[in-house]
Symmetry: C2
Subunit: 301 residues, 2 copies
Amino acid sequence: MAETLACKDVIYAFDKTHEPVKRVESGTTIEIETYDCFENQVQSADTKIGGIDWERINPATGPIYVEGAQPGDVLKVRIEKLEIGNQGVMATGPDLGVLGHRQEEMASKIIPVEGDHAVFDDKLKIPLNKMIGVIGVAPEGEPVPCGTPGAHGGNMDTTLIAEGATLYFPVFAEGALFALGDFHAAMGDGEIGVSGIEVPGKATVTLEVVKEGALRHPLLENGDGIAFLVSKPTLDEAAKAAVEEMADFLLTRTGLGAADLAMMLSAAGQSQISQIVDPLMTARFFVPKYVLDAYNVTLFE
Amino acid sequence: MAETLACKDVIYAFDKTHEPVKRVESGTTIEIETYDCFENQVQSADTKIGGIDWERINPATGPIYVEGAQPGDVLKVRIEKLEIGNQGVMATGPDLGVLGHRQEEMASKIIPVEGDHAVFDDKLKIPLNKMIGVIGVAPEGEPVPCGTPGAHGGNMDTTLIAEGATLYFPVFAEGALFALGDFHAAMGDGEIGVSGIEVPGKATVTLEVVKEGALRHPLLENGDGIAFLVSKPTLDEAAKAAVEEMADFLLTRTGLGAADLAMMLSAAGQSQISQIVDPLMTARFFVPKYVLDAYNVTLFE
């Protein structure tokens, strides 16, 4: 029987001073329920999106204290399973997202989830790519609102954060203080309208403390390869910093010299956009598994 | 028998005052040979990359005058076939690319192409993704060096510019003055080290004038969907401008209102990086074919 955590225990900021709502041993698998990013306040087309309580946005369920996690360690989070509700909601409005200047008023839309698709309207069904928008640990310094991404994770809105992926977070606080929320039934890279298809849900994750790790930014691993997820004030900075993180990570692990490493990453690495609408921009740099296999790269001993 | 153009006729800038080296009717299929981006000056590991003639970089074969093309029209370029040489070269160096500050001297590397792979070293084989780095038409104003991308195309270094893709360019000069070059056997999105696996080659393209079009930036179509390719001084600007182009293009074609369009593009559109190392940054915004099919979108009448 897995551990469980209900969505009544939420945070609106990642904060190292928070009291944990749950304590688990390293290696524990836990089911975590989540509200959608509007804390389930929009249930029908009749709800005025402008009239909801905007203090209750991007709730993350947690925080969970993982026994043994110390600053300087790495928290390994494997996403075993991702279940979502059968009704999603999207929203956009003036000054929200890339096209906010074209919007005259706040707008929202209820989007049913049917089988493997989200029903956008009577013409368009969008294939699901279920993912977690907000996931992370308590940051090093001041609290970070759940709507903002950073080195601690948070609102990275990254399509790769999906079932089967494993995330590695730098630990900044005792117990790591892990939390997650803000699931999307589907979202495009960039999340250009400021929302995905927002859904409540339940994630089954396994939390494990890695003692030999050293990370400055979240690292993601899936069946295709690995990616550093880096958030900065501009997309240019985020994209370049993600490359730097990967270069540092692979320099000793591949044994390549600086020039060969740059050329290899230029030919085989992928610079990608996660989101361009949150308070910081999130980019990622992806390296395929065949590269890791070729050089016998191990992530952590 | 297709028309042909040998690689001896090259330009180093896209320029509306250039004399065309070839004139073709709209609808012509033509085989165009190309040098690699170093104009084939690096043939072995013995060549000192710092010692080559750096005035002869990024040559594009052309320009080709397409009969009937007028400013305000669109030039449709279908890439029927892309053939590459069996030896590639990569280079990087101080101040080149994202990792240039880690390089102490210019470095290059000969990379054999064998079957479907490029042999990077004795451990790593990189799957080919054959593509065209430089492709475009004469720009509206001053000449643009072939190493720089822009509204006219040029050095967009976009992995999607591959066999089977169709590009649509705004026409700025009579005859369009089309040219292409700078093929890559493989390149990752971002091209973070400043070069792909650079190869000479031959492209078979069909050039067609579209009279009813109106474009501000290049549009790409392939079997997966469409993407606007936009180049700007920063990646942030490029990524946002690509979204704006797509929104303008799809607004009337889908019949969606401004809010629904923003939400649809947020859920189903993809903000992607082409390259972050050239004089302007190139981003693209991609919309999948299932969206176009759902709303019966036609690109041009």
